[in-house]
Each structure stands twice: as C-alpha cells, then as structure tokens.
Symmetry: C2
Subunit: 359 residues, 2 copies
C-alpha cells in the first residue's frame, strides 16, 4: 500500500510563482496558487489536500516568496510554521529545490526520498496521482535515480516541454519506469503532432522524485556553484539571505535534469493541467451554456466559449464569444481569450503608470 | 428675459418609465431616470437642474410610479412633497399628462402654461434649452396652440418619430413657430435619410408646451373618456385610484397630438439625446481610447468602440471591440453593443426563472 511503502517520503511544494496570466484574480499578494478557480479550495490547498493519506502535513515543506508569504501561510494552517521556506527573492526553481533538499537532509537525513511538486497545477484523478507518486518514491529509493513524472499527452500542446522515452528499466510500486532519452524544449505545433502520434513522448510536468543524496550529486556535477552554496547552507541554515545570490538562477530542468544521465520517468494519466492561463480553464472545468462560468447566477443569450469568473454576481452575457471576463473587488478585466498570453502588456502598462497596487 | 416672460410656466416631469435597456444599471427600484450615466447627477436631477432660473422647484410636478417613488423622491429633495403625482400603475403618457393638467389647473388656474418634459433625456446646451422652453411657453400662451419642441435631426435616426413642418406662423420669445403638417411614425433608414436631406422634418422629442385650457380642449375632443375622468378628478382629486383605469392607456402623441389641428413646433438645436440604450452613450459622452468608459482607472490594449460602466474599479480591456460592459454590485453584464436592443430577452429570462430581484 502506498502509505506504507513510502513512509520516508517528504514533499517540497514550490509556491514562489506569481502566475500573472491569471490577473486580476491573481495578484502580487494573492498569487495564482492562492486562488480558487472553482469551488472553495485554492490551487495550493488542493495540492496539499491531494497528499492526504500519503504524506503528513509535517512532512511537507512549502517554498514561497516574501510578497506572498502571508497569503500562503494563512491558507495552510495545517503545515507547521517552520516548514515554510521563504525565498529572499524569486530565482527560478534550481535554488528553491536546492534549499529544499538541504533542509530535508538536515531534518531527516540524506537517504530521505523527496518529491517536488508545483503548487499551482490541477489534478483531476487524485487516486491515480497518489499511486504514481508512491511508486515514484519507491523507484527513486530503489534505483537512486532522478525520477520525473511524465504525463500522457492528450493534445499537440506547444506550451510544455516533452520527455522522449526509451525502454523500461523495471517496475516499482506497480508502475513501469522508463528511461528518459532526452528532454525536448517546447515544440512547434507540427512537431507536437508528431510527438503525440509517435507515443514516444510524455509531457514534462515539473513533478520530480529523488533521494536527497541523488539530487545533491547531480547539483555537484552540473551546478557546482549552487552545490558549494548548498554545502555552506547545510552547516549554517541562517545564512540563506547571504547565500541566495550564489545559487544559479536557472530551472532545475535546464540546470540539472537535462544534463543528467539515467533519469527515469513514470508515465501517468492523471487529468493533469498546469492551468497556465485563463484559456486553459474550459479543458479543466468543462463548459456549458455560455462557456466556462463561475458565477452566482447566469443568464446567457446567444453566447458561447467564454471564460467568466465573477463568483458573487449574476452574470448576463448577450451575443459574446471567446471572451475572458474576470471581476474582482477593485479590477474588472475583459479580454479576448485568444489573447490571454498578452496579459503581460497590461502588467507592463500598470507598472509604467505607477499603478502597481493593481498588480 | 425668459424668467420674466414666463412667470406662469409650470412643468410636469414624466418620470414613470423603467428604461430597461439600461439594465443592469437601471433596475425596477432605480429606473433609468435615477441613474447617473456620467458625473454625479442622475438624469432626473439634471432635468430639474436644467430648469434653474426659469422655473422654481415649487412649480415643478413629478409624475412617477409606485415602484420607483421612493428613489425619485430621495433624489429631488428640493421638490415639495405634494408635487409628486404617484401613478397607481403605468398607463403610458396620456393619463399621466391629463392628471398633471388637472392638478396644475386646480392649483394655478386654467390659463396656466404647462410644459411637459421627459425625466430621462440629456441636453448638452442648457442655455439654448431654457431659451427655447421660455419661447415655447410664450408662444403657447399667445396662440393657445399645442406646441411641441422639434429637434433638428443630426443623423438618419430610425428610433424616433418625426414632425413634418410647414410654414412659419409667427415668432415669440425670439423663436420661429412652424406649423406641424403631420406626425410621422419611426421611419426605415432610407426614409430617414430622405427626411434628413429634405430639411422639412424634425425629431419629435416628447417635450410639449400648452395652456391647461388648450390641452383640456384637445383631450375633450380626441380622448373623451379620459376627459370625463379628468373632469371628475378635478372635483375630487382623491379619486385618482378609482379613476385611473378610465383614462385611455395611450401616448399623448398618438391619442392627442397626431389628431390635433394647429399644432406648432419650435425648432431647437440643443445637443439633445433620449439616451435610449447603452449604444447611445458614445454620441452623448464622446469616446476616447477603448471607447466610452466610466471607470476609476483604465488600461486599454488594442480595444476600441466599447461602452463600459464600472465607476469604482480599474477596468482593463484587451483586444475587445463593440462591447457593452456594465458592472454593478450584484450583476455583471457583458454584451455586444449592436445587440443592445435585445436586452428584453435577458429581462424575460430573469422573469421566467423567478429572478425578479435582479430586474
């Protein structure tokens, strides 16, 4: 049973991102992981809830940023106060994971298995998720390899990196572990179609599992500066502020995983989504009359394919298609759904005009 | 000077309409005339303000309905309490004007000149408005004719009735008074273009001036049932509730004006608008980047030709065109501006689903 076979599993939840593409629901002081896209629980609350029965709250570390620390802590009262790692400033995932590894080694020892999970993804099939994570932990422990959870692609997505997989090394926790032959950057749509048809590629979802010793070895080899800083941090945890700038500001994918030999992947079919922008919601939440609407009441006349978030109001739509409409106490945003990627332009104008309070 | 030449002028402001096409800003308990489309003052407040220096508040009667009585009274503290005529229920303009005429005759005598003004129109040029109204009062008094203020058309509008004008009868108050040869129902766009080019047509704006005796005579001839009820009402003002059903539920245009001989019009160029729907606002308020926006702050990226009302928020638009976006505390409406006339469909669905509280 999963909960027995991975009693040593600790989890680092990465909750340092802003998620500006969910503006204005996501804000500097209430980042994407702290918002509830549907229902009552926020994305980070769902991320922790999802571990229920597999990992206890005291075995979960939360890495986050200073701006959003308060919001994140408030949402997770079950996590002990000392389990929050507050990054001096955002420096991508490699430093964050290094710090988490050091902290887990200090508390529980170098042979501890740790999983790394993003705080702001959605997973529809929680039972499968726990089975896969338990298996990943067992495989990581037995093989001492870096393990990444590979998501079965369901569409020719151009927004993710891919894993090209090779043969099966073995099975642990009831799941096959495949060799990762290489990491592939975000492809164009034609390439993505080929990947989908070939069945030789999985999505790289940013969910990892390894022993602390294994990830330390990988950092030592591929990010030696970060490794040296990690060593110093291990002996003096209070020096994080000073050491933070010495960590390499890169992603763990680019800095470590893509360069490592012997990386393994567990294929998983979880109903997973990174919900990267408003336009991702219909695939995750489904659509009915008018589109994908979170509203108190709805009146829809000749409208379809919209994404609406206005949970406390009656929302009336007349003749509109393909819009994203987000209503918050101090901001109302209406845009074309196919331009959701251009949210950055709004952010930039707010900064330029000194309206940072709306960011 | 106008204020001297029309010392006897009394005004009946008709404030009984709902103005459902400005939903959700206009509501059953806060009808169109009670909303502020721009600035601080509502349409009915602006209507009364506009009489400043010409007619004192105690010479203004307000006809309104039971649903909206409270909202209307609250907005007009300067109008004496006994000057509000609260209609038992809406029965179009003929009964409303009959009651106003009776009440004015009872208080000030049958030779009093009365003007009838809608509560929910906008007039940009207030000085011209007062000059025209003063002149209309003088002409109505001297000729004992029914006088209607005719608006110079500025576009081939298909939403209004027109007046076909004939020769000039004379000048009073410095303005020419033209004979009205006939009233024309709302034309199609081709006909409207012909009207505009011919310069022989004016818009019928629903603003009238006459002596009480003259309008009584017209009612007696063309709406004898209403006339009989008026006579009874004159002797027993408390019987309005019982008599109300005996008034003809028709418009004064159709029931009286179109049938009357010798109707006169004063042409006027006032920057007038009946602001009949959200789509009328750009012509009235002007447009800048993004369209016609009432908002606390605006961020506009590639958006134009929208009408937005969200006075307390930052409004951000991305790539959208031709939308009407109205944000109220309990309703958010987003529709295509070219479908503003279909607001009725939303109203009907709200009623059908028992959501009248949003009407």
């Amino acid at each position: 049973m999963p909960s027995q076979s991975c009693g040593h599993l600790k989890v680092l939840v990465m909750a340092g991102g802003r998620g500006t593409r969910f503006w204005p629901l996501s804000r500097a002081v209430r980042p994407k992981q702290c918002i509830a896209l549907s229902g009552e629980r926020s994305l980070i609350q769902q991320t922790v809830d999802r571990l229920n029965g597999l990992v206890k709250p005291e075995c979960v570390l939360i890495a986050t940023g200073r701006d959003m620390e308060q919001a994140v802590r408030q949402q997770l009262p079950e996590i002990p106060a000392e389990n929050f790692l507050v990054e001096p400033r955002g420096r991508n995932t490699a430093p964050c994971i290094a710090w988490g590894a050091v902290e887990i080694a200090r508390r529980w020892g170098g042979d501890t298995v740790m999983a790394v999970l993003p705080a702001d993804h959605l997973v529809a099939d929680e039972v499968s998720f726990r089975q896969v994570l338990a298996a990943a932990a067992e495989g990581a422990s037995r093989t001492n390899s870096l393990v990444t959870i590979g998501i079965q692609p369901t569409r020719p997505e151009t927004g993710f990196g891919y894993l090209k997989v090779g043969g099966e090394l073995g099975r642990w926790g009831g799941k096959p572990f495949l060799r990762v032959r290489r990491f592939v950057e975000k492809p164009d749509v034609e390439t993505a179609r080929t990947f989908l048809e070939s069945k030789e590629y999985l999505w790289n979802a940013g969910m990892f599992c390894w022993t602390v010793d294994a990830i330390r070895d990988a950092y030592r080899e591929y990010l030696p500066g970060t490794w040296a800083a990690m060593e110093a941090l291990t002996h003096q945890p209070s020096t994080i502020e000073k050491l933070w700038e010495r960590f390499d500001a890169t992603s763990v994918d680019y800095g470590v995983m893509e360069r490592s030999r012997g990386v393994l992947t567990v294929p998983a079919d979880l109903g997973w989504s990174d919900v990267g922008a408003w336009s991702a919601l219909p695939a995750v939440l489904g659509a009915s009359q008018g589109g994908t609407l979170v509203a108190k009441e709805k009146v829809i006349i000749d409208a379809s394919g919209n994404v609406v978030h206005s949970p406390d109001k009656l929302v009336a739509l007349l003749g509109v298609e393909g819009l994203v409409i987000v209503d918050t106490p101090d901001v109302l945003f209406v845009g074309r759904l196919d331009r959701a990627q251009d949210m950055r332009a709004i952010n930039e104008e707010l900064e330029r005009r000194g309206l940072q309070r709306y960011l």
